[in-house]
Point group: C2
Chain length 238, copies 2
């Protein structure tokens, strides 16, 4: 079965409303697959708490004609995943998200549904967990998950919020330095630096960059990074 994935870099562009820039693509994704109800996974939402997170997302999804139900309030979480029309995994802290998904036994369950063709969307941490592991997150490791492995719905790693900006007064590593360290230790896995205001769409076996005109950066071990824009054929990554 073809997977249906919408992997969004970020919820919020600086100075824009929450989920504002990507509302239309979420709506299109849902409509294409006749999704009216979305099962929301709030476990990355450390700072605000799950209830507030659900409300925040529900307020936006409502304007898109979508209902959401948060997994943290499901009477039977296993059944909720099994019955879901679509799963949406929100951003926040990736370590906390992965910790909870393993602890609650939902990592494999969601993966199985997505492998079977259930539409899966995520933003930021929610896009990272669609990858083989969390190893390219930017987040602080505030909690120790049972393991780093994730859903492996794509075989490359996404670095969400990718930026090549750096503060010239600061001596710490740049994002590219960090990704190069990843590649040194994981030489056979490619990394997609997904800039803000973009997303990866996988539909009918076709992988594309969508959103605003901010090319992704593809990092491979021992190669110069390459840039791919909105019209690029990305199927070689699959």
């Amino acid at each position: 079965m073809n997977k249906r994935l919408l992997l969004i870099s970020n919820s919020t562009n600086a100075g824009e409303p929450y989920l504002g820039w990507c509302g239309e693509m979420i709506k299109d994704f849902a409509e294409k697959h006749n999704v009216t109800d979305v099962l929301f996974v709030p476990y990355a939402g450390v700072s605000m708490g799950y209830d507030a997170y659900e409300q925040r997302v529900a307020a936006v999804f409502d304007t898109l004609g979508l209902k959401i139900h948060s997994l943290h309030r499901a009477d039977n979480p296993v059944e909720a995943v099994k019955q879901a029309q679509c799963v949406a995994v929100g951003g926040g802290n990736t370590f906390h998200l992965v910790y909870e998904l393993w602890r609650l036994g939902e990592m494999k369950l969601i993966r199985e549904r997505a492998e079977e063709g259930m539409p899966y969307m995520g933003w930021s941490a929610g896009s990272n967990v669609a990858c083989p592991s969390l190893k390219t997150t930017n987040d602080m490791p505030i909690i120790e998950p049972e393991r780093f492995d994730c859903m492996n719905l794509v075989k490359f790693q996404i670095n969400p919020h990718y930026t090549d900006f750096f503060d010239p007064k600061h001596g710490g590593e740049t994002r590219q330095d960090r990704i190069n360290e990843f590649l040194k230790v994981n030489q056979d896995i490619n990394v997609v630096g997904l800039r803000e205001a973009t997303a990866l769409s996988l539909e009918e076996g076709k992988l594309r960059l969508i959103g605003r005109n901010n090319p992704l950066v593809l990092f491979k071990y021992n190669q110069e990074p390459k840039h791919y824009g909105l019209d690029s054929d990305l199927n070689f990554l699959l």
Copy 2:
């Protein structure tokens, strides 16, 4: 026995030579404890490799009148740690450092020696591993360590390279956002944001900020961050 710790935020200030800003404090630390030979731990050095890392550090330590021997070349690493006059743990990727220290059985061994009073110095990742865990590193989790626990030589967490800079065009989390997420999940552990060009010194039971005049930022759960300068009494953190 009193611990002797020199926990340095960063090796390199932007535009300055490697270990340049902190050479004098390393020299002072060594002289105070009659250290002439330093056992160097290179395991955070992913990008350049251990041999090159050793050479890079040796070139600087030589100008300070210090010899170094790298743990990765020791015939008997356990014995090397047991006999060391002083251990210096270099910066780089904290996850890789912690992975190697646990894998090679050296985390507890170095901890024991430092608890007994052996002078311990570290910079960046090397300061982070003196803390209870790696949970406040800025580094990318490029490899999965056996556990996040570290040496617990101080009971607070250091965030090295602390900065309150952020890119106003970027929607990702600020450093303070990330530390606040840590505090939400680890409410009884304090975080010291250690700015570049500063270090923590623990000598004769006295904890001080040393280096340039860049106050540290102390983060506690549910409290406003507080700033402490070079003359502050920090013993309340012990």
